[in-house]
């Protein structure tokens, strides 16, 4: 291992030159988002919905438009966090860190006595979407960088430790922004999306979920065939990983569904790129193949979550504030579709299922963000959820850069079920 630095640099340059030459001679198949767009949809005007990267003052957030079941109320808990999405809570619950994608920031919210202040903890990163907190340290995952802030709760000036090398991140960027979370096994779970809409991934580093020890050692692929998961949680009783997954685009308005999946054992294959949703054979990369063939050995989803709905954060509810029927239920945010004419999602749903994933049922919970499905008129896009110490639920709105707090008190005259 003790080569001199020059030899290493020279070898690196040579390898790079060879790679470039190869790339020029024979370009890889384009992992383009529109790959797989059929001729019938060539004139489609569907395009990803625009985000908003400027601050939205709380006074301009139409919180009253949110609809919830009786007894639940939503309030604006924090605002002025453009692009804010996944949240990590400190152990005390007094700090919440919020990741973003293109604006490149991680926010820190300090909650002191009902008043909250927001600061930018770190910026200039390439889509630092993944945030997780464990044993006093905050982990930040950008597409190409991993940072760890030790003792950040007590020391606001903690300098980050660069952990990038230990996590072995692959080079392609598309669908490789992260959602990260620590499991009950103390391991850090990290997804690696397919770098395309539909393709056979260029290497075996993509379309999978891995877990690592907190220091990046012990890498293990625990699920394959996963197109783009950006939300998961661990079942409060079994400890098993349940994850949401985005289905491919450009197959029409009705198919394929986004998925809710369960990992009952490491090593399951969830179908990408050949078999989508509940057994939809891919018309591009599995053209002409039967379902029995394309979906052989594939673990089917617990539930279809709606075509192009953009299923995001998933949180098993274990608090005591909400009525009994919510105990152990999943809250799942659906950020809302772009790749279909009649928009769906833009909501938070509850899903209830048995521990083995049977009998899963989805119920709307938090709605009102989508005002007209036909014209794509919406004002907010719920993205992630976090359960607070008191059992209330934080919901991030990536569109308006705000966090709402959902709480429950039994309606007057009624009693808590």
């Amino acid at each position: 291992m003790k080569k001199n630095a020059f030899a290493l640099a020279a070898a690196g340059t040579l390898a790079f030159a060879v790679q470039c030459a190869l790339a020029q001679d024979k370009p890889k198949p384009p992992p383009a988002w529109h790959q797989g767009k059929p001729p019938a949809m060539a004139d489609s005007k569907l395009a990803p919905l625009a985000g908003k990267m400027t601050e939205t003052p709380a006074s301009e957030i139409p919180i009253d438009k949110i609809k919830l079941p009786p007894g639940f109320t939503a309030e604006i808990w924090a605002s002025g966090l453009p692009g804010g999405r996944a949240m990590a809570l400190s152990d005390s619950g007094k700090k919440v860190w919020v990741g973003t994608r293109i604006i490149g920031r991680v926010y820190e919210i300090s909650d002191e006595g009902g008043k909250r202040s927001v600061r930018v903890l770190v910026d200039k990163l390439t889509q630092p979407a993944g945030v997780a907190f464990k044993n006093g340290s905050l982990y930040v995952f950008a597409i190409d960088k991993v940072l760890r802030f030790d003792g950040i709760e007590g020391n606001p000036n903690a300098a980050p430790v660069d952990m990038t090398k230990a996590f072995d991140l692959p080079p392609e960027q598309h669908h490789n922004w992260k959602y990260v979370r620590f499991g009950p096994d103390g391991k850090l779970y990290v997804p690696f999306g397919a770098p395309c809409n539909i393709c056979v991934p260029p290497t075996n580093e993509y379309a999978q979920i891995r877990r690592y020890n907190a220091d990046g050692s012990g890498k293990e692929v625990i699920a394959t065939g996963v197109r783009n998961t950006v939300g998961f949680d661990f079942h409060p009783k079994t400890g098993q990983l349940w994850f949401t997954d985005h289905g491919r685009d450009w197959m029409g308005n009705k198919t394929p569904d986004d998925e809710l999946n369960r990992v009952d054992k490491p090593g399951n294959n969830y179908g990408f790129p050949y078999c989508h949703a509940n057994g939809v054979v891919d018309p591009d990369v599995a053209k002409g193949r039967s379902k029995a063939d394309a979906c052989k050995g594939v673990t089917m989803p617990v539930l279809n979550m709606g075509a192009h709905a953009a299923v995001m954060g998933l949180e098993f509810y274990t608090g005591s504030m909400f009525p009994k029927e919510y105990q152990g239920a999943m809250f799942i945010a659906r950020k809302g579709s772009w790749n279909r004419e009649d928009k769906i999602g833009f909501d938070v749903v509850t899903v209830r299922a048995s521990t083995d994933g049977k009998g899963a049922k989805m119920t709307p919970f938090m709605t009102g963000f989508l005002e007209d499905a036909k014209t794509a008129k919406f004002w907010g896009r719920p993205a992630y959820l976090a359960q607070m110490k008191d059992g209330s639920l934080l919901v991030s709105d990536e569109q308006l850069g705000a966090i709402y707090r959902v709480s429950y008190s039994a309606p007057a005259g009624g009693k808590k079920k």
Binding site: L49, A50, T54, R101, R105
Partner: protein, 191 residues
């Protein structure tokens, strides 16, 4: 009755003054930009994009990303350092309302036709709209400077243009530089 009419007049006048003063402020803010982007938002410098008629959201995003230090030249980052969101929105508003136009230049028919076909094959008009006038977060390409377009697309393809979505890098993956040049020529000649 007369008082109601007077009331309407007053309201109208106030609205006029408010809009008028916002315009003046935005123009004032845009003064340092004019040196390169032109007073009317039409580029006057090699490699610098025209801004006139760009979608407002695109301009906002670009300005924010540059302020954040993720995009743009050193000069742009210096100009925008510390600029507050309302000023960014005002600037974006200002340029989005100016009339776009292409720069005078020679038309290479063969190159134009090649570029047109590449744009069709790669579905560029899905997001950037059929006439390439852009929409929302997707920029107007029609009439943009050819040198700017060619360099921007190459930079996307080589992952040298971070900060935006990864969609453009993925969309241009594997397209040879000569094809990107044809695309740039075609788009720059559109009205």
């Amino acid at each position: 009755m007369p008082s109601r009419i007077a009331g309407r007049w007053a309201a109208g006048l106030t609205a006029f003054l408010l809009i008028g003063s916002a315009d003046v402020l935005a123009e004032k803010r845009a003064e340092p930009c004019a040196k390169c982007h032109g007073k009317d938002g039409i580029s006057v410098k090699e490699g610098v994009p025209s801004l006139a008629g760009q979608p407002k959201v695109f301009l906002e995003n670009y300005l924010v990303l540059t302020r954040e230090g993720l995009r743009g030249s050193d000069e742009m980052r210096t100009l925008l350092r510390g600029m507050r969101d309302p000023d960014i929105v005002a600037l974006a508003n200002h340029y989005s309302r100016l009339a776009p136009r292409s720069l005078p230049g020679l038309l290479d028919k063969a190159l134009y036709e090649r570029g047109r076909r590449i744009a069709v094959t790669h579905h560029c008009g899905t997001c950037h709209v059929k006439d390439f006038s852009g929409q929302q977060q997707m920029p107007r390409l029609a009439g943009q400077r050819e040198d700017f377009l060619a360099e921007a697309m190459l930079a996307y393809r080589q992952n040298r243009r971070p900060g935006g979505d990864t969609v453009m890098a993925a969309s241009l993956h594997g397209i040879p530089e000569s094809d990107l040049k044809a695309l740039a020529h075609y788009l720059s000649r559109l009205k």
